[in-house]
């Protein structure tokens, strides 16, 4: 296709001399807390977003001040595993530069918010000093690689985790721009002019973000069907991994009022052996690199490439590039995409404590829950490791039996397990306001209050202890993977949300738009009768999402292309 059709972002990448652009100069400009628009785009490849505190926007210009800029820094943390020593470093950075808070994300990593431009390099150097980095945590490249967090099957988990790390390294950009610009590493002469710096990506990297994850049934905590490329472990009788089912074409993002954009569940295209894993992965990545739509960023994700080309063409191309065809998919069964809380004993004899962290927000709250300090204290005494789950929660992993008491005491001392209802334990919300530039409505700051209201209703119907998955996002981009939640609320405008129902509890089916533009009372009023009916009419063991379809509240969504079809309440409630 002719160059002029390429999206501006493609030209910028091509010009950028492997992600350098004017970043160094812009970072050094002392009179603004921001950087140029181009530099802001390039920043993403280095794991950062230029944001501003939207709560302050109304007053800034009047006060003759520019926007209250702050950098969001996202770590590259494959599989979400971190050592206590590294945790302590992040804790210190959060306290010194990021407003005394750490944010756990839906892809098992950390975000720091509101870091002043003039402190970014200092923060990154300290992160680097404990063998962590932020490379490709954002941007048109392979993002943070996810791996099942459920520590119960320790051996399989260890293997999935190891693969996640190697996969992340395999697709990590090779440019030295990051070290030159942010870590004062010495300049690699002429690198910007060479052609062979990025063997996999080339000069223009991917058409769009690309996401990989490893799931191990029965847990689908990583939401393998929301990944561009998801691997589902097939575990043999002896507990060893025989190979992987390959799911391709998942993704959540869409835009209100643009039906040609839609969320999509990945298709399981087949099965591959452990030895072929990297070949298959590289095949899928390069196919998307070459076939992906670089003219329209709203149509650039793999899910559209797949729908446009068709599964067969895609399978054939994989075979061609990987030098080996995928075998027929093997059977697999997921039970849920949530976390199991409390202590479990792994098959390695170690103990693991899963802690519910509401919306992944670690902070010392006014109400006495001192999550940030609590976790620091735990990191100070903990000998094992700490894991981040895809549901924004934490696992204190590999604790010796005799250490459990000490951990429990710290958890209690810092009020880290304030009793939470089943609905709350199964909730996630994206960050949204005040930092997210794309938010149309509140999310993280609002969902807890909504759940208070919904819990009252649920209690009235005796449903307080029923696991129902609820997710909220401040816009349709889907950062909390709302379209695979039994109940989803997606921001439409200030205080207004679209309500979706009917996804599968195990994340294998998307939900359907049930009602539009609801405000708080409207949401509660809309759900109340559905809860009532569920309590009344559900069959034994029937999940809420499945019920809403059987009971006829919504029609089932088969896949992306019919996501926008036959929407709306089907049953008068």
């Amino acid at each position: 296709m002719a160059d002029k059709d390429l999206s501006p972002m493609e030209h910028l990448k091509a010009r950028s001399r492997y992600l350098r652009g004017d970043l160094a100069e812009d970072m050094a400009d002392p009179l603004t807390g921001g950087v140029s628009e181009d530099s802001a785009q390039l920043l993403k490849f280095h794991g950062m977003y230029l944001q501003d505190d939207r709560d302050l926007r109304p007053e800034r210009t009047k006060k003759k001040l520019e926007k209250a800029f702050g950098f969001m820094i996202r770590l590259r943390l494959p599989g979400g595993v971190i050592a206590p020593k590294q945790w302590l470093t992040l804790d210190a950075i959060a306290r010194e530069f990021a407003g005394d808070t750490l944010r756990l994300t839906t892809r098992q990593t950390f975000q720091l918010h509101g870091v002043l431009k003039f402190n970014v390099k200092t923060a990154l150097k300290r992160i680097n000093a404990v063998a962590l980095d932020t490379i490709a945590a954002c941007g048109d490249d392979n993002r943070g690689v996810m791996a099942v967090s459920n520590p119960h099957q320790s051996r399989v988990h260890a293997e999935a985790y190891d693969l996640a790390c190697r996969m992340s390294l395999h697709f990590k950009p090779r440019t030295h721009a990051y070290y030159e610009i942010f870590l004062d590493g010495e300049k690699v002469a002429g690198e910007g002019e060479r052609d062979d710096v990025e063997p996999i990506y080339g000069k223009t990297y991917m058409p769009r973000k690309f996401k990989i994850g490893f799931a191990v049934p029965p847990s689908n905590d990583i939401d393998v069907f929301a990944q561009d490329l998801g691997f589902i472990a097939v575990v043999g009788p002896g507990g060893e991994i025989e190979g992987w089912n390959v799911a391709v074409g998942g993704g959540m993002g869409m835009t209100h009022g643009e039906p040609e954009t839609y969320p999509r569940i990945g298709d399981v295209l087949g099965f591959c052996r452990p030895d072929d894993l990297f070949a298959v992965a590289e095949a899928v990545v390069t196919i998307q690199r070459d076939w992906g739509d670089r003219t329209n960023r709203k149509h650039a994700r793999l899910k559209y490439t797949l729908d446009d080309r068709g599964a067969d063409a895609f399978r054939a191309e994989i075979a061609k590039r990987a030098g080996k065809a995928l075998e027929p998919a093997r059977p697999y069964a997921f039970t849920s995409n949530g976390d199991r809380y409390g202590w479990t004993e792994g098959d390695n004899g170690k103990h693991h404590l899963t802690l519910f962290i509401e919306n992944g927000r670690l902070r010392d709250f006014a109400d006495g829950r001192r999550l940030l300090t609590g976790m620091r204290r735990i990191a100070e005494v903990h000998g094992g490791e700490i894991r981040l789950t895809p549901n924004q929660n934490l696992i204190v992993a590999n604790v010796d039996a005799d250490k459990r008491g000490e951990i429990d005491a710290l958890v209690a001392e810092h009020g880290m397990t304030a009793r939470a209802s089943a609905l709350r334990r199964n909730s996630i919300a994206c960050v949204a306001l005040p930092t997210c530039g794309l938010a149309l409505a509140e999310s993280e700051r609002y969902l807890p209050d909504l759940i208070d209201a919904l819990d009252e209703k649920l209690a009235a119907y005796g449903l307080s202890e029923d696991d129902i998955v609820i997710r909220m996002t401040g816009c349709p981009n889907g950062c909390a993977r709302p379209y695979i939640a039994e109940i989803a609320l997606v921001g439409k405008g200030p205080g207004r949300y679209n309500l979706y129902l009917g996804a599968a509890f195990d994340g294998s089916r998307m939900n359907k738009l049930y009602a539009e533009d609801l405000e708080h009372d409207g949401i509660v009023a809309a759900l109340d009768p559905v809860f009532a009916a569920y309590a009344r009419e559900r069959q034994k063991g029937e999940r809420f999402g499945d019920f809403t379809i059987r009971a006829g509240f919504v029609t089932a969504t088969v896949n992306g292309r019919d996501f926008h079809a036959s929407t709306g309440a089907q049953r008068a409630s």
Binding site: P30, L31, K64, L65, E66, F69, L116
Partner: protein, 581 residues
Amino acid sequence: MSGFATIPKTAPFAEEEIDLLNRVVGPANALQRAWLAGFLAGVESVTGQAQPAAPARPAEPITIVYASESGNCEKLANDFAKAARKNGLKPNIVDMADLDLAALGKAKRLVVIAATWGEGEPPARAVRTYNELMGEGAPRLDGVEFGVLALGDTAYVEFCAIGKKIDERLAALGAKRVVDRVDCDLDFAQPASEWIGGALKVLAPPDADRGRVIEVDFGKPVASPNTEIVEAEVSEHINLNSSRSAKETVHLALTFDGAMPAYEPGDSLDLYAENDPAYVDELLKLAGLAGDDALRAELIKSRDVTTLSLKTLETHAEKTGHHYVKALIADGQAKEWIAGRQLIDLISYFPIALDAEKLRALTRPLAPRAYSIASSRREVGDEAHLLISAVRYDSHGRARKGVASNYAAERLKKGGRVRVRLKPNKHFALPASDKDIVMIGPGTGVAPFRAFVQERRATAAKGRSWLFFGDRQFTHDFLYQLDWQEALKDGALTRMDVAFSRDTPDKVYVQDKMWEQRRDLIEWLDGGAHFYVCGDAKAMAKDVRATLVRAYADVKGLSPEAAEQSVAALERDKRYLQDTY
């Protein structure tokens, strides 16, 4: 108006001569008149003998030295000169900054009018000469007759310290004190003019036949701006700090209906504030005078009800005879006790029924507060902008609020009216438009530099301009950030460096940025740049000067002494200019 000089009918000339003279002298400008006066005086001194026709006697010379920062002493020096001429004296007014000590010994008559600044320090410009005067090198002054008038503020512990020290020093150097010193508080107008009258009685030639001495009217300085009190309307009232900031710095835009003072960049406005009614009410309650509405109104509007000075304590002891207050003074603990306290503390610690007269006696007239003008008329037209930082602090368990700054921040509102008076400051003006300028203005010190930059934009000045600004937090305290970004784009500002003390692990201040940039800084100064400092006098101004000295030493490899000399030279050339408070 060009101060037309008309020869008084009383002059010893025939009528037609007076007309003739008027045709020449009338339209003459100040300079021509001055020349004539000098010339005639000169003729007198050579030809010696008195003229029978006009028996005017040669005027005796008198030297009037003033040490002034904000212009009060300078104004009094001019008043003194006027009166001196009327009394047959030939005044020679000298800014202490320009005083040649060696020549002082020749002065027969000497008057010094000196202010005290900082915490008992000389006005910035006068520091160098003052130190010479106090040092061993100072010349003997035998045969010099002198008198000293001291200006100060009883609110400061070191009340009129500089006037006092100069007074002692002159005597110690052998000069003869013929007029006793008077120490004036902020309301100096009356005591000062009385002192001037008294001084002249002593210093003017005894046999001066005043009636027949020719009065030479030098007219007012050409186009002297309106320095009357005028009322302005507040057309903008914005707290420039973010709502997340611990500080409150108000940007005030004042519009004048007609009587707009013709201010220049570098000038200030005296702002006539009112006291906090809540504070006054508490004060009246404690004094047992609640309900006296007349008194209340008077105190709010025109009395200084916060300052607590030794003088206040003495007055209190004397008026009330309060046992403990007397004891406090007697034990010499008064100085220590008043530190950080206000009048209200005195009244509440030592309760005693007061009547209106007694309470009034404990206060002094409410003095205006000066604020640098932060705009240029050439850019904003009939407006003047001020940048006022609300002074708030705790001491002795009380939350304290600065009178004027909080009047501006809390009680002045958009659309409200306020009384101001222009305080010209020709010692802090822009240089020729092709000269470079370096401006050091952290905090509210940046105010006059906004005026400078606006002026240079409006006049398309060729000279480069470099601003150093600093405050606490980049995001929340960057005063006028958008203005500076714009000025850098359009070139009105060539370069800017900022230092924020609460953002990064290590605290940085403007002087640290100066040090970082020392090479360029010295290069600019070598190229003739003028160096301006405005803002905090206690720490910042001193640190900045010390840093500049170090910069000279480092960049040019000079000894500390030589480096000090380089900066002193800048001061002597009037290229190192300060407006600090």
